[in-house]
């Protein structure tokens, strides 16, 4: 009996710090976001008016909010697909093929991930410059005439964000997949080769199914992090412009909460993004569920 209570005490002590920190820094602020979304107030208001679900009903007819959500979904879908496709292919090539300077490529691909978003935005500011930028200069070189694409203009700004975000994320996921691909026994590929399976068949029939658990986990991480990273990229690269064309959900929330002094309205956006992130993660989890394969 004494032994059991000692054990319970031990478990309690082990769990207490994490539970306390989690409650204070996660649960209480999250509840607060939901509570404040029901009020009309500014960030420093001494008083607040309860408005019920008014903030949410307004959101549904706010065209700028709808555009910011569309931009967020566009980034989640396109950046995820491109990043994962490239990361998987590069990882497979670097693990399976004998290429000179493998480590060099691994480092080169990984470097963008250790750069801060501010540095990345400065790099891309030089790449996207209309008159002297790398991208327009290259395009001019190949097309033979002066190309003046406005990369950060209203029509191209989302494409520019997608390129920067993919460039930043590929290396990290590539290294993750390389780690799990390296653990697949060589014998599987050898016997598949004997049965006549080519490189591409091997990739789809052996590599992908065997690292599926890893892909599934990283996919959920990636979707959540894209929502957050999009905010950082937009803040550093475009300030949401021109004329709100690159606004994403979180940058729009920030704008409403601070610049427009509508903190309650901003928190309503925060609450919706919270629910949206949870829902999307759950959906991805269900859709990607497969019987785990082992080797």
């Amino acid at each position: 009996m004494k032994k059991r209570s000692g054990r319970n005490g031990f478990i309690f002590l082990c769990a207490a710090p994490a539970v306390i920190l989690f409650t204070v820094f996660m649960i209480i602020p999250t509840i607060n976001v939901f509570r404040m979304s029901l009020f009309r107030r500014s960030a420093y208001s001494t008083t607040e008016d309860f408005v019920g679900l008014e903030n949410f009903t307004r959101l549904m007819s706010d065209v700028n909010f709808i555009r910011s959500i569309q931009n967020t979904i566009l980034l989640i879908v396109v950046v995820t697909i491109i990043t994962f496709a490239f990361a998987l292919v590069f990882a497979a090539i670097l693990t399976r093929e004998k290429i000179k300077g493998q480590n060099f490529f691994r480092i080169i691909f990984y470097i963008p991930n250790i750069l801060s978003v501010v540095v990345i935005s400065a790099i891309f500011s030089a790449i996207y410059d209309t008159n002297n930028g790398t991208l327009n200069s290259l395009l001019s070189l190949f097309s033979g005439e002066t190309v003046t694409v406005l990369w950060k203009g209203e029509n191209m700004v989302m494409v520019s964000l997608i390129i920067a975000m993919v460039w930043q994320a590929i290396g990290y996921y590539m290294v993750m997949y390389m780690a799990s691909m390296a653990s697949i026994p060589q014998s599987l590929y050898e016997s598949a080769g004997l049965d006549g399976a080519g490189r591409i068949t091997q990739f789809f029939q052996i590599t992908l199914p065997l690292i599926w658990t890893n892909i599934r986990t990283t996919l959920t991480f990636f979707i959540i992090s894209t929502i957050n990273m999009a905010f950082l990229f937009v803040k550093a690269m475009t300030s949401g412009g021109p004329n709100g064309a690159s606004e994403v959900a979180l940058s729009y929330m920030y704008k409403q909460a601070y610049t427009n002094s509508s903190y309650g309205y901003g928190m309503a956006i925060g609450a919706l993004v919270f629910v949206f992130s949870f829902g999307l993660s759950a959906l991805v989890n269900v859709v990607t569920k497969r019987e785990p394969l082992e080797f």
Binding site: G6, F10, L13, C14, A16, P17, I20, L21, R40, R41, S42, A43, Y44, S45, T46, D49, N55, R58, D62, N64, F65, S121, A122, S125, Y128, D129, T130, N131, T148, L150, W151, K152, G153, E154, N155, V157, A236, M237, T238, S239, G241, P242, N243, G244, Q256, Y258, T259, N260, S261, S262, Y265
Partner: protein, 471 residues
């Protein structure tokens, strides 16, 4: 033994976590920006909390801008020497991030010095919340160390605008600070070289635009759409005078259907067609200097800006023979009035300030000869002179170089435009004047929006603002 050891380790871990939490509170002063630390050390003999001077201690939070932060340290020291009231100074480029969290916890500085129009919109938030202490009585206070009254020292008009009297009730809530004439900046050297004259009317402006276009120079560019506030206000004044400006900035019903409004919209829409085409793609916080660079490299003729541009672009490469020039907005008709908007920052006392009386003394002191001199001799972080000019009578006479030319704009025929859109309460959600007025200029230039769509957006937002006007 092993179990006891593990329990001890867990206990140590738990304690260290909790100690970590409480530690952060104790370390708070160290978290303030480095400038604050330096300043606190410099003034250690007078600022030590254990030995407060007779007058107590106030907290002053001032934004660090192109003028640098040293002038604030000096002014606070001069104030303490004059009144015996200690000042705990907080200066930072991102002041809102430094004082924001403690204000949300109910701990307010006694004086805040900021400019309106910043992304965090701290001043605007306090105005909306009506959470600012009235300082009309400061105007009748004597400046500490002098015999003159504050109201007599401040130049005419500065304390009668909607930027200082946001509720239009004749009461002053914000003290005007560091004024700067805004207008169109250009390369005077290029005009001399080409034999062009600075246009006095908008018709002459369009003619010049066509002439410049023939030489592959665009007529106009702008750093970001945020710079259009000063431009629009001056334009409204020059089109319809103070009466139209007041009605427009108070969102009067039907004002946007008047002839004057139509003239304003048409001028901006036409100007958009004369704007350098890469401008909107660079009109963000990251790339705005590229737009300013267009003027320095003779790729665009004019840009709306303020006197700080000289210091901001001091190190930037430029065309041979480049010389800064500044003009007020052209008039609508020949011989009509041309206006230059007077941009200024504000100092105010938040409603939660603990020492409002001492704070008022501090604000009064900001207009003393001693303080004005310190501000006028300010140097920026690079050690370059960056004079901050207080709006007191006779100060422009003491200026030199480019600044003398900029600040004499009002002596050369331009009229001063002051004020801004009237404050509305929290009933307006999801829109702001910047979003409906200024940001769409990017879309007008790129052709993604028509003039009519722009006007419709303004009308619909202004209907909301009119209904929520703080009276």
């Amino acid at each position: 033994m092993k179990k006891i050891l593990s329990i001890l380790l867990v206990a140590a871990l738990a304690t260290s976590t909790l100690v970590g939490c409480s530690g952060s509170k104790e370390e708070k002063p160290a978290e303030t920006p480095s400038t604050t630390e330096g300043e606190t050390q410099d003034e250690a003999p007078t600022e030590t909390p254990e030995a407060p001077a007779e007058g107590g201690t106030i907290t002053v939070a001032a934004i660090e801008t192109a003028y640098g932060s040293q002038m604030w340290t000096d002014v606070c020291a001069a104030f303490t020497a004059e009144t015996g009231i200690n000042v705990e100074l907080i200066t930072d480029k991102n002041l809102e991030d430094v004082i924001g969290p403690s204000m949300q916890a109910g701990d307010y500085p006694d004086v805040i010095h900021l400019a309106t129009g910043r992304e965090k919109a701290l001043t605007e938030t306090f105005i909306k919340d009506q959470n600012i202490v009235e300082i009309t009585d400061v105007l009748s206070m004597t400046v500490p160390g002098e015999s003159a009254k504050v109201g007599d020292k401040i130049a005419g008009g500065f304390t009668e605008t909607s930027l200082t009297n946001p509720y239009g009730d004749g009461k002053t809530y914000l003290a005007p600070m560091f004024y700067s004439p805004c207008g169109l900046f250009y390369n005077a050297g290029l005009f001399e070289e080409k034999g062009w004259t600075v246009p006095a009317t908008w018709d002459e402006m369009w003619e010049l635009g066509d002439k410049a276009a023939a030489e592959d120079i665009a007529l106009f560019t702008y750093p970001t759409t945020g710079y259009f506030d000063a431009f629009f206000y001056a334009l409204m004044y020059s089109v319809g005078g103070a009466d139209f400006f007041d009605k427009a900035t108070n969102y009067e019903e039907g004002i946007w259907d008047t002839e004057e409004a139509k003239t304003c919209f048409d001028i901006v829409a036409k100007l958009a067609s004369y704007t350098e085409k890469t401008t909107p793609a660079q009109a963000n916080d990251q790339d705005f200097t590229k737009n300013q660079q267009l003027v320095l490299e003779n790729k665009a003729l004019f840009m709306p800006n303020g006197t700080w541009i000289v210091g901001e672009m001091a190190e930037a490469p430029r065309a041979d023979g480049f010389k800064w020039g500044m003009t007020a907005l052209p008039s609508v008709t020949a011989g009509g009035d041309s206006y230059s908007y007077t941009w200024f920052e504000q100092a105010w006392i938040p409603g939660g300030a603990e020492h409002p009386d001492e704070a008022k003394q501090f604000i009064a002191f900001l207009y003393s000869d001693a303080a004005c001199k310190i501000f006028a001799n300010a140097v920026n972080a690079d050690g370059e002179p960056a004079p901050a000019i207080q709006p007191v009578l006779g100060i422009a006479d003491t200026l030199e170089g480019d600044n003398q030319m900029f600040y004499s704009i009002y002596d050369n025929g331009a009229k001063a435009a002051m004020g801004n859109f009237a404050a509305y309460d929290s009933g307006v959600v999801g829109v702001s004047n910047r979003e409906v007025w200024f940001d769409p200029v990017n879309s007008l230039v790129s052709g993604n929006m028509t003039e009519q769509e722009w006007i419709d957006g303004i009308k619909s937002a202004n209907d909301q603002m009119r209904a929520s006007l703080i009276q």
